[in-house]
Symmetry: C2
Subunit: 397 residues, 2 copies
């Protein structure tokens, strides 16, 4: 049987190949510290579960295709609190940020079109762009300059007649980079001047570690109403990844109208998860303050520990709960496998995400890794010690 050329261009998760080795290591009694996945360990606010328990309708019916009004209202209020005004008609609820991305890409990307994305980037963008028959044009960055990409000349050099959109993951996954307000303005201006969509994937918006810095969003730029599309989700904001609730927000009503076609074709988003996600927006600022402080401490731990390892290149990231670093190893992928098969320290080893799959440019990222600092402080310290010992032993072998 023949399969579509689009799916053939996509790949399975690059982490998948480590799974059997991880299983074998665990079976052999090793304990693995996981720095490889972006699943936060922070408790989901109880409001979620209370709302679910308080649902007492007899029929679990389809909700509205654009999303439940109560959830949209809660989201609008959240944005208003942060100085951004949107109307009910400018929001579409989706099954996670993932579906929001898929729908927006399908609306704006045709076969052969290009979307500009700074690299390294979230690898699932590959599958989503391939599905549209489109191509990712990366903006190159390097670990040496902290994965900085917000340079007008570099972005404009990537624009051609097939370019339809610029993707801006801010704060960045996997890099943790955060744009300054001036850099955001510049990105918006480039999009406006070249008639491009500016897709802001802002899943990690809350996770910026400067003191007293207000939340930032591409949604602030009302003068770019036609260009800006925001991808949002409750997954990281409320540590509710399993809710699969996200949304598309845009003042471009034509875009929303096109996206609604896809929302109607898949009928609706899960009813209970929408009701419960609306309740999440009731959590107070003390929740975010505590979560931010926790992650800030973890980031500082990881960065401090990394800087003690000779040969590691790593800037201190300003946001998200990831960082990329270049290691003094020949091949991070081979190193990861070796950590599972040939290394342990008192029965412990460590997993991270090798860097290559985060790049579109072949060969880049070979000695880089992504670390997700989603472990408790003590485990994180141990994990970083294991990484240091692993590097030393690997290069000595």
């Amino acid at each position: 049987m023949r399969f579509s050329s689009k799916v053939k261009k996509c790949g399975l998760s690059p982490m998948r190949k480590f799974h059997p080795y991880a299983v074998a290591a665990k079976a052999a009694g090793k304990r693995i510290y996981h720095l490889n996945i972006g699943q936060p360990d922070i408790a989901t606010p109880s409001q979620y579960f209370e709302a679910v328990r308080n649902f007492h309708q007899p029929v679990l019916a389809y909700s509205e295709s654009p999303g439940m009004p109560a959830l949209i209202e809660a989201i609008l209020k959240y944005y208003e609190k942060h100085g951004m005004r949107f109307t009910q008609e400018e929001v579409l609820i989706t099954t996670g940020g993932s579906e929001a991305l898929q729908i927006v890409f399908n609306c704006v990307l045709d076969n052969g079109d290009e979307i500009i994305i700074p690299e390294p980037f979230y690898p699932n963008y590959n599958t989503m762009v391939n599905t549209c028959g489109a191509v990712i044009r990366p903006i190159p960055t390097s670990p040496e300059d902290g994965y900085f990409y917000a340079d007008r000349a570099r972005i404009e050099a990537a624009i051609n007649e097939r370019t339809r959109a610029i993707m801006c993951t801010n704060p960045g996954n996997p890099t943790g980079t955060v744009l300054t307000p001036e850099e955001m303005r510049m990105m918006v201006d480039v999009a406006k001047e070249h008639d491009l969509f500016l897709i802001g994937d802002e899943a990690y918006r809350e996770f910026v570690y400067e003191e007293n810095e207000p939340l930032r969003s591409m949604g602030e730029f009302e003068d770019a109403a036609e260009n800006v599309v925001i991808i949002d989700t409750v997954s990281k904001r409320f540590s509710a990844c399993g809710a699969r609730i996200g949304c598309i927000i845009s003042r471009n009503r034509e875009l929303i109208g096109e996206a609604l076609k896809y929302c109607q074709a898949r009928l609706a988003v899960a009813t209970l998860d929408q009701i419960a996600s609306a309740a999440l927006y009731d959590v107070g600022p003390e929740y975010f303050a505590a979560v931010k402080e926790e992650y800030r401490l973890r980031r500082d731990t990881v960065v401090a520990k990394l800087r003690e390892i000779p040969g590691v290149i790593c800037e201190c990231p300003r946001g998200a709960f990831y960082l990329m670093a270049a290691l003094p190893v020949d091949d991070a992928d081979a190193f990861q496998q070796w950590l599972l098969t040939d290394f342990d320290d008192n029965g412990d080893t460590v997993m991270f995400a090798p860097g290559e799959p985060f790049y579109a440019t072949p060969g880049k990222g070979k000695n880089e890794i992504r670390i997700a600092y989603v472990l408790k402080q003590q485990d994180l310290e141990r994990a970083m010690d294991l990484l240091a010992k692993g590097i030393e032993a690997y290069n000595r072998r």
Copy 2:
């Protein structure tokens, strides 16, 4: 801003245009009997809500990309009870049957490819096929022969070098037609002989109204392991449309491998809904017996009432909870609008789904309607009386 040619080919829900008229009619004090939507009124089994209330983990985490093992196990047992054996690796959990369809279409349909679908068909197939850049090749049917399509010559006449798959919605939405075992065998044989996927959308599998007839599924045909793909969902089976839990089932491991790429790219299906849907599979046969009996009575009421209306053409459908009928009106769409704006009987009126959007062939279905018999017996009788009075008044006006 420019949008993709694929989304431009898609349409918004054809029912949408009636929305303002329905709102106005309600505002004017009219009561509308809704025969236009497939949202069952049957209570969702309490097992669902109990499972949700019994969830006590602190973090609502991502589930596994292929689906939660407990839900897959429950589904495997259900199939085994009906004489079909699948393994854990042959099932992928999806966000409703809708996502299952989208993923399978993306796996098998390339730009310019064709998929054969008997018409009238579920209109959302249009958006899903358009998104792949592919084309629906309809198998024509007619109300006069009860929308019969399972004719080998007619199906083979639609096959050409671009054909990749045959879609078989069985029981049918919108027609309620149900294939005989011999017809199913023939469809499978055609798919095998021509190296085509046979996609069985079996959302309504439980809803077949003959006494003591065993459940049928394309999954029975183990000799067509490479060809058969089943689209399944808890939506109608358990009256749990708002759960958005479906699955892809196939013995074609290569297909499952390709589909897994999409499952990984969107990370996971909602966690609570999966846990709760697994619990749904604990409901006993008495649940299905009662639901079937209720729908059978409703179907009989609708068919009997329709046959009293002069000029209506309607075969008694054997399954699902829909039927198509040809009305003695010039234009079912104009008639629907008139029912909302110009008609009432003691303040009551009725809505159905006009037939044209269910067809791919232009101009077909103009005097047809789809009725969803998802109302209680008494309301259904009143709705059918309103339809009869409406037709008479419309043709007299």
